[in-house]
Point group: C2
Chain length 448, copies 2
């Protein structure tokens, strides 16, 4: 609520060009809120407000801005300002931005950054996308095993200022091999003369620069760690990945999974920021495939033209059967795919899953079939038609539940993202099978 | 990988009753891995292994165990062990467990816990489920504004041992009013004689005990905070909520949303732990509603029996039309619902969304319609039937996209969870409308 008031009041001050008061208000604000405010301003005003910010805050605010505003700011500020800004930014944030920027802007930024920053940026830009290397931070606190607790605290006090996190300190050998981890809390409550090597936890859980950032995020969340050390091929400490970056990665992965499950090509950008043509492109191919796979169900239904002419009533139940297959299939595949994403469902549980879902489909399908039978009998007085529909419905639900397990499990065996094998595909395949069963049953039971 | 080997080796040692070696291996393991191991043991062995653990670790391991193992352990250990265990547990973890346990176990635990623990537990058990109060931790570090940085660090060294996090310290007045926040990092890098009140950030962002834990989690993730202070009606500090709890809350909320979107009643337990009858119950009612809403499409299609008898070919395209409506609708509703869950889509953007999705539906639907027209003409040589299907397809996609925006937006206006208004419901309604359009067009164009 206070945020809303402040935004309106800030807007007013911008309009009045009351920069003195603006500067003092901005100094007391959180960088995320300042960024939210700047994001909503026209670019000319955004540049002015951005220049009112003090240097270290400016970098924090910059990393929270929308991509397009970041680009336009970099275009609008001078070379010296670019240099200061990128030297102040956390390396991982800077790399994220550079990856989104057009090539000429990246070139200008790299030319203006200090040599140290430039080297780091170049190194990071070479890590594969979605790898731990590309999201890790290089600004961490490292300790030596032969320091005392008092030395270590003094070291942190001296060098901890610009580090992304000081709370997990990693202990390295002179050749930078990762030896252990110790928390600031442990250091603070230890005796002053206790040695770091006696206090530290040895064999810390670590990740490799080329591991996927999703895996690293899962480890962080599994163990409730604040950070994880990142090592290279020789087990040398090169960086760390922090829980706030990890939470972001997991959220992005979940969004991507959801998009795949709904038969879309995942988008890098948030929905509202994605253009109409991109949205259309991300969906078109999938819908085309699904539309064309309709040919099979057309063929199946087409074979039963005579039955349909003889008992047109059969047609009225096609949409319901078709929907129920999709609905039951999506219930199952959603649970299985989500279970896989959260590492709750593993390969050992495949048989258990099939048995479980077969049982569920009977417990759900039999009562639904009976209710449906009574309803259709009552409404249409055609018990054989009602029986046909109800048996077809039960078969549809059994198939949907079985395929809802099968497709994600099969995809994972083939090392394909299980989310790709989701609702729409299952719905289409269940449709084909259920039409085949429905009309075959009708032929047999109704003699048409 | 090392975890797998250790688990197998540990199992072997349990079989051999080599408890001495087990104890020394367990002492070096992370509590999460120990819990994963104990979860897989039969209860008799689980109790033995649990008793091998040292007291502070035992509590950490206990809080990571599955609910059923926790209950059976509490049943198997004596009163004094229960007392020690629950006094060692973090209050928020203890409360989570108690909420899952049968009443007689809760009674036994409360009777055996120390008075302080019992009072705290009782207080927590009264906060509404899913409120900040029920997930906050009461073990935090508080400072006074008139302490110096050196005093504050000494205070943390003395009292920080058992606190869940010491990294954000909250500054309170003598009457416990929340005055500000300061990080351990700021304290460590400050001059020894600097005053906390000069170093602290005033007006810290805080949450109220009765706020929803989901809202608090979003704030934590928005600002990338490690913790947020929790205050009562009088702005007095009563606890804090930490980022690891928040990440868990967000993950649970996402799973619940997914389950609602796939037309299921959300389950408290992970999928593999949920019984067959519960799974069936959580799905049955939704499938029943969807099945019965099929009555409307039956009625619509039933009205066109004559057209169907005259042109049975029309029937073959019903499954495809029905699936496409569901598929396009799920693409849109997934994006809108996810956007709302991530707070990217707000009420201001409603009109923008409708316009956007209308455009997307044209860009997707027109080419699909054309492709479909050519294909049906080629396969069946019936241009008027092909035209009927293609127009119906375009209308279906437009309706699916529009309703895919409308239902979640409408749900939010009514303060209903948007995830409830998802794919299956949209598919069913689009089905009814598209059947109406399809057969009306057929009547008009084909004169049947």
């Amino acid at each position: 609520m206070t945020e809303q008031i402040t935004q309106a009041r800030l807007g007013l001050l911008v309009g009045q060009r009351n920069y003195r008061e603006l500067r003092s208000i901005l100094a007391a604000m959180n960088e995320v809120d300042i960024a939210a405010f700047i994001n909503d301003l026209p670019i000319e005003e955004a540049v002015i407000i951005f220049r009112l910010l003090q240097k270290p805050i400016a970098a924090d605010v910059f990393s929270e801005l929308d991509n397009d505003i970041q680009q336009r700011l970099v275009e609008a500020i001078n070379d010296r300002e670019v240099a200061t800004l990128f030297d102040e930014l956390a390396i991982d944030d800077a790399v994220d931005m550079l990856e989104e920027m057009p090539a000429e802007l990246v070139k200008r930024i790299l030319q203006n950054a200090s040599k140290d920053t430039r080297d780091l940026l170049n190194q990071y830009l070479h890590y594969p996308e979605d790898s731990v290397g590309s999201v890790m931070t290089a600004e961490f606190t490292d300790l030596r095993p032969d320091m005392t607790a008092a030395d270590a605290v003094a070291h942190i006090r001296k060098f901890g200022q610009d580090k992304e996190t000081i709370y997990n300190c990693y202990v390295v050998s002179p050749s930078r091999l990762l030896l252990g981890v110790i928390t600031v809390r442990d250091l603070l409550v230890a005796q002053d003369d206790a040695l770091v090597e006696d206090l530290m936890l040895t064999n810390p859980i670590s990740v490799h620069t080329t591991d996927s950032s999703e895996e690293a995020s899962k480890l962080l969340s599994r163990y409730s760690f604040i950070s994880l050390p990142v090592v290279d091929d020789d087990n040398r400490l090169v960086g760390l990945i922090t829980i706030d970056d990890a939470a972001e990665v997991l959220q992005e992965e979940t969004t991507e999974d959801l998009e795949r499950m709904a038969a879309m090509t995942p988008s890098d950008k948030p929905y509202l920021k994605t253009g109409i043509m991109t949205l259309a492109k991300n969906r078109f191919l999938w819908l085309l495939v699904l539309m064309l796979s309709g040919i099979v169900s057309e063929f199946v239904v087409g074979r039963f033209e005579l039955a349909i002419s003889a008992v047109p009533l059969l047609v009225a139940f096609i949409p319901m059967l078709s929907d129920m297959g999709g609905d039951a299939g999506s219930q199952v595949s959603t649970l299985v795919i989500r279970g896989m994403a959260l590492d709750e469902v593993d390969n050992k549980s495949t048989i258990k899953l099939f048995v479980k879902e077969l049982m569920v489909s009977l417990f759900v399908g039999i009562p639904l079939g009976i209710i449906n039978f009574l309803r259709v009998c009552f409404a249409n007085g055609a018990p054989l038609v009602a029986l046909t529909i109800s048996i077809a419905l039960l078969c549809t639900i059994i198939m949907a539940n079985t395929l809802g397990v099968f497709f994600p499990v099969f995809a994972r065996k083939l090392k394909i993202d299980p989310a790709l094998m989701a609702t729409p595909m299952i719905a289409t395949i269940v449709d084909i099978l259920s039409m085949l069963i429905y009309f075959s049953l009708a032929s047999a039971l109704l003699g048409v």
